[in-house]
């Protein structure tokens, strides 16, 4: 049962990702991406990370994708690609490289030592909010704090970038 679930979600995830890349309409690709994120969230549940699954759905699918959709709507950029391709060899080269990358990673994964699977038993509650938060606020306290600074910078940056021109104080007086 579990493998069946895994396989279907995996296929859905990959299909959604491909659709996202290939669809011409930006909104469609956004929606496909949301589908992808949800399927990955399901996989999280399989991987004993229920809390993260929830976070994934709410933050990624919820917040970020909504922002995307909002901006697409704002700029009306559904089918932005009007002009013809300026760099002709880009698309085929991209595909070939993608395939090459995949082949290499596949080969690496195949040749790499088979990952030992930890006994299932004690892996039960690693995903529980309590253990995560315990670790988060003890060993990983420092990154946590710095992430807050990072987000602050992002906010300040967004404000700076989108504000209309600020007239210098001297100019205003003159």
């Amino acid at each position: 049962m579990e493998t069946f679930l895994f396989i279907t979600t995996a296929i859905v995830a990959v299909g959604a990702a491909l659709a996202m890349v290939l669809s011409s309409n930006a909104v469609h690709s956004a929606l496909f991406l949301i589908l992808n994120f949800c399927s990955v969230a399901i996989l999280y549940f399989l991987l004993r990370a229920p809390f993260l699954g929830a976070v994934q759905v709410t933050v990624y699918a919820g917040a970020i994708m909504v922002l995307f959709l909002f901006v697409i709507m704002l700029l009306g950029a559904e089918n932005a690609e009007l002009g013809e391709e300026k760099i002709g060899w880009q698309k085929p080269a991209g595909l070939i490289l993608g395939v090459a990358l995949l082949a290499e990673i596949g080969y690496v994964a195949y040749r790499g030592t088979k990952l030992i699977d930890a006994p299932v038993a004690d892996a039960t509650n690693i995903g529980a909010p309590t253990t995560i938060s315990a670790k988060l606020f003890s060993t990983y306290l420092l990154p946590f704090e710095v992430i807050s600074i990072l987000l602050l910078i992002a906010v300040v940056g967004t404000v700076v970038l989108t504000r209309r021109r600020v007239v210098a104080r001297e100019e205003r007086q003159s």
Partner: protein, 491 residues
């Protein structure tokens, strides 16, 4: 469930001192900025902040302490590089002080953003855990994306920022994937623990060059390589350096490289000394390509900012030599090189800033014509910077290059030293062209460009020149400092 005792982590202020203080100070400046948009207040505050941070580092200089479950370390190497970064930032602020209004970029947020970026760098320099490295890199990058796009009304700056962000994100993807693979294989994120893990592997006879682990290391190095504009991943540098406002370009070319190299140094020397044969060869080739590409394309440039961009790519190649030497000599040579490079590059950009007037983004070589007559002292200092970049003896550039090539030769990367030496001859080609235009070609008939060598900028240039001559003539002060790097890095 509630038997999980919550072990409150002991916060060790010495380790955290420098980056944390600067972050808090940056927020303070941000708040002050809300009330007054008087540039003089903001810049004095920022300089005070930088000064205090540097003082914090000096308080217990000799110590080597690691804190936060070894995520951060406070050692001489870290403090030294931090000092250089702080000096670089201070110089940038000095230079940028009157550039901004001239380009009507009056948003006050410039200073807090710069401080935030610098704090990110300090954080990255002291990081000895993959997570902290990742977060340090990202903090620094986000701040720089914003700074690059600071002059957004000018399309050039926006274009540079979006290019930088896209490729930055792309690299971040690889960084995370790399970290994931390394974590997957070793189960550890802390560099020292990874090293012990690998030694246990060795003792248990497990093959060290496991492809997945190598792939992980490769991906992380790619991401850091992107940050320092190593050859295949350098493509963003020229466009971003040309697009971004000049002080930001100066800041990026100097500080980001320093921090990223420090992280790379720790990553390679602490975590993966065992895999040296693998990464030294491949990234040696990349270093050679960087040196060659950077210098040769710079020759074909007529725009000064792009030329300095390519020269910074070339210098990244030279610094990479120091990093790849992975020996004590290499680290001390890298530190001296970083200092010399910081002073020289900031000085060169300062002169550019003095000459760039309102709304004229593109900066052609011929605008420098006859500078020797118009403002001799500016021309003299630019000559010193050019000779230092080319590595012509009495300047700091030479002493640092000497150290780097010596370290490379010692780590029998002799082919790299030879390529480095040849490419520095190629580099002399275009540095000389700048000097020729300044002194030997007389200005065109059109009215000469006004120069804005204001007080703060001249101070910055003066500091740079004195620094270069000092390092050039007395490198021993800095090599002794750098030599005593008993640090977690170089077991």
């Amino acid at each position: 469930m509630n038997d999980l005792t919550f072990i409150t982590p002991e916060i060790n202020w010495t380790v955290l001192g420098m980056p944390a203080f600067l972050m808090i100070w940056a927020m303070l400046v941000l708040i002050v900025d809300m009330f007054t948009s008087d540039r003089r207040v903001l810049i004095t505050l920022s300089l005070i902040g930088l000064g205090v941070t540097a003082a914090l580092g000096a308080l217990d200089y000799g110590l080597t302490v690691s804190g936060f479950s070894d995520m951060l370390v406070f050692d001489q190497f870290g403090v030294l590089v931090n000092w250089i970064l702080l000096a670089g930032t201070a110089l940038t602020l000095l230079i940028a002080f009157d550039y901004m209004p001239r380009q009507n970029l009056n948003q006050g947020e410039f200073y807090p953003l710069v401080l935030f970026a610098t704090s990110g760098m300090l954080f990255l320099v002291q990081a000895t855990d993959l997570v902290t490295i990742f977060i340090g890199v990202e903090t620094l990058s986000i701040a720089l994306y914003v700074l690059t796009g600071f002059a957004v009304p000018q399309f050039k700056s926006g274009e540079a920022a979006i290019k930088y962000l896209l490729l930055g994100g792309f690299a971040a993807g690889f960084l995370v994937y790399g970290i994931a693979l390394i974590y997957g294989m070793t189960g550890k994120t802390n560099l020292a623990q990874i090293a012990t893990e690998l030694s246990t592997w060795q003792s248990t006879g497990k093959a060290l060059d496991d492809p997945i682990l190598l792939a992980g290391v490769g991906f992380v190095l790619i991401a850091l390589g992107f940050k320092v504009s190593m050859f295949p991943f350098h493509a963003w540098t020229p466009d971003v350096y040309e697009g971004a406002p000049t002080p930001v370009t100066a800041y990026m070319s100097v500080a980001t490289k320093g921090a990223a190299f420090a992280a790379m140094l720790r990553f390679l020397n602490v975590a993966f000394p065992a895999l040296k044969p693998e990464w030294q060869l491949l990234f040696g080739l990349f270093a050679a390509a960087t040196m060659i590409y950077g210098n040769i394309v710079a020759v074909a440039q007529s725009n000064l900012k792009r030329m300095l961009a390519y020269s910074s790519i070339a210098h990244a190649g030279y610094m990479l030599l120091g990093v790849l030497a992975a020996s004590e000599k290499g680290i001390s040579a890298f530190t001296v090189y970083l200092l010399a490079y910081t002073l020289t590059n900031l000085g060169a950009f300062a002169v550019l800033i003095a000459l760039e007037n309102r709304g004229m983004p593109v900066f052609e070589l011929k605008d420098l014509r006859g500078l020797g007559k118009r403002s001799p002292w500016l021309a003299v200092s630019m000559t010193v910077f050019m000779f230092s970049l080319a590595g012509v003896p009495p300047t700091a550039g030479f002493a640092s290059k000497f150290g780097i090539f010596r370290a490379a030769w010692d780590a029998n990367l002799d082919y790299l030293a030879i390529i480095g030496v040849i490419t520095s001859v190629v580099s002399a080609f275009f540095y000389l062209r700048v000097i020729v235009t300044m002194w030997m070609r007389d200005a065109e008939a059109t009215e000469p460009q006004p120069t804005y060598a204001t007080a703060s900028l001249s101070l910055g240039v003066l500091v740079a020149v004195i620094g270069i001559v000092a390092v050039g003539l007395l490198p021993n002060i800095f090599t002794d400092l750098a030599k005593a790097l008993v640090l977690t890095v170089a077991q």
